[in-house]
Symmetry: C2
Subunit: 309 residues, 2 copies
DNA sequence: CTCCATTGTTCAAAATAATGAACAATATAT
DNA sequence: ATATATTGTTCATTATTTTGAACAATGGAG
């Protein structure tokens, strides 16, 4: 590109500001450090202004740089929207769909779904990132994410894909040895395993005939990984509260058995969430529609229960 | 620039759309045709979409191209604002000031003004385009223009720089031969020269003790150039209505003599006009301020009249 | 219909930009 | 204090882009 292009160097400059470093920007853009350096110098020459104060170890924006960055950010956002607008014109989804999802749900239910979706749409490529950390959709460049929560994140567009029932389970052997609780309060005599990612891991909530019940629970195993807890439950270590999408197989084959079914709390939800943009790309819309149809209000993983609720 | 820059090719694409031609865009950008061609191809490849239908002789936008152009235009406008924002931060005006002005006013009064302005501001470069055609400020890339009119163009920001009085003049010799008119109606017996750029060249307006008077005028010389008319008036060909900034020298040295002074209409105005942008560059602000101070409500070219009005 | 000027594309040669290792500078850890 | 790792810049080499002329395609003028 000729040096007279008014957009030249803006993307590199914004990357430097956001990475707060030339080297960081180079890594993010897959450039060389040298190229970033000359790119910024050229931009500064063209504008006749110093944008960045750089001492070998510390980087800071000048006043001019701060003003120019605000515009640069807007320019790049507009460019992203321009591409989204094109994607939104496609009848058939195309391109790369970048999805973030919780590890357990992804492994158990997204794999098959994605395979089927890709078969239906040959021009789609998928990049699936399974991760239980809370990611920043926009910052990290995802098109969308699957979130399991009580209420959707209001800063994002959310589409409910399925209910997520959670049930109290232990192995039949465990129940035989310790007795089957008839009321949530009976859990005080049990060894209850807790999941560290919850807001309040030490409290379980139920819904009885007289309304919601909260009971404190405790036990010998606390983990931030559902699979570990479920595995321990199967081995008779204790009682687990698990989403049905997660324990349905074990329920069917008898490794686990539900207790306190009459006290099951209202389900939380599986959501698809994506940033609020002017244009929703065809690939995101198509995938979300596909998942909503595939899971739905009566998801296949709750089939063991006979019918819904 | 690496091919992953999301802004790559956008400026070239917009230029092609606006020039409605690859060759035209190449000329405007001072590129080669070939470079424009590859640039557009690369952009289309990157977006995976055809933006332009091109048959050797005719160019048209696809639906995708139209959508993408709207965004491209916004991106480039934002880039221009980014540069203006930097200029607006300067205390001292810098860079190139592109000015459009009417030929006659420019030659007589802008030359000296610009010279003085440049002396006061060493970092300023000026590109002066004298032209009596109506130019499109934004389209043609001017920072500002000087306009002489009754009312400012409301689509632009206008700053009144000076009044522009217009007086009826002829050579003393002419007046001696044909008699000095005492009332606008007397002009019907005179050979009146008319200026083709006016809305209604065949009607002159005056303001008498009883309000505004319009009289039809006609004569043997009609021209679209004020200098030709003024020259003819000096040679005794007929009567001219001329702006005082234009005929002041001839009035002082006696080549021309005013008639109907008591019927002089309200002055029109000399305006500085510039596009409405978020940031006014320091160079435009400084130049407009400078001109307003230099000309003002009592411009030096009306000094022959003693005092104002 | 036949020129004719001009369009967009193509391709070898020339100009420009990116790479990647070497370098001096500087915070942090020991 | 000293060592260390990482920063931003520089420079010769490599890779990419631009140029400019040749070319086929096309719409208008006579």
């Amino acid at each position: 590109m000729l040096a007279t292009d008014p957009l030249d160097g803006i993307a590199v400059f914004a990357a430097v500001v956001e990475a707060e470093s030339f080297s960081g920007a180079a890594r993010r853009l897959k450039y060389s450090k040298g190229a970033v350096s000359t790119q910024i110098q050229r931009l500064e020459d063209r504008l006749g202004v110093r944008l960045l104060n750089r001492t070998t170890r510390k980087l800071s924006l000048t006043d001019e740089g701060r003003a120019f960055y605000a515009h640069s950010r807007r320019i790049l956002d507009e460019a992203r929207e321009a591409m989204d607008a094109l994607d939104a014109l496609d009848a058939e989804p195309r391109g790369v769909l970048r999805v973030n999802a919780p590890m357990s749900f992804g492994v158990l239910h997204l794999g098959a779904a994605i395979a089927e979706f890709m078969q239906a749409h040959p021009a789609i490529e998928v990049e699936l990132d399974l991760n239980d950390r809370r990611v920043d959709l926009i910052e990290d460049g995802y098109d969308m994410a699957i979130r399991i929560a009580r209420l959707p994140d209001s800063s994002l567009i959310a589409r409910r894909l399925a209910p997520c029932r959670r049930v109290v389970v232990a192995s039949p052997n465990y129940w035989d040895r310790h007795g089957r609780p008839q009321h949530p309060n009976d859990l005080k005599d049990h060894d209850v395993m807790t999941y560290a990612y919850l807001d309040d891991p030490g409290t379980w909530t139920f819904k009885g005939p007289d309304g919601r019940i909260s009971v404190p629970v405790k036990g010998r195993l606390r983990a931030n990984n559902g699979e570990v807890l479920l595995d321990a439950a199967k081995r008779g270590i204790g009682v687990d509260m698990a989403p049905t999408f997660f324990c349905c197989d074990a329920l069917i084959n008898g490794e686990l058995e539900i207790a306190l079914a009459d006290f099951e709390d209202d389900p939380i939800s599986v959501y698809a969430v994506y940033p609020h943009r002017r244009h929703l790309t065809t690939r995101v819309r198509a995938f979300v529609d596909f998942l909503a149809a595939r899971f739905g209000e009566d998801p296949y993983w709750d089939a063991w229960a006979g019918s819904s609720n």
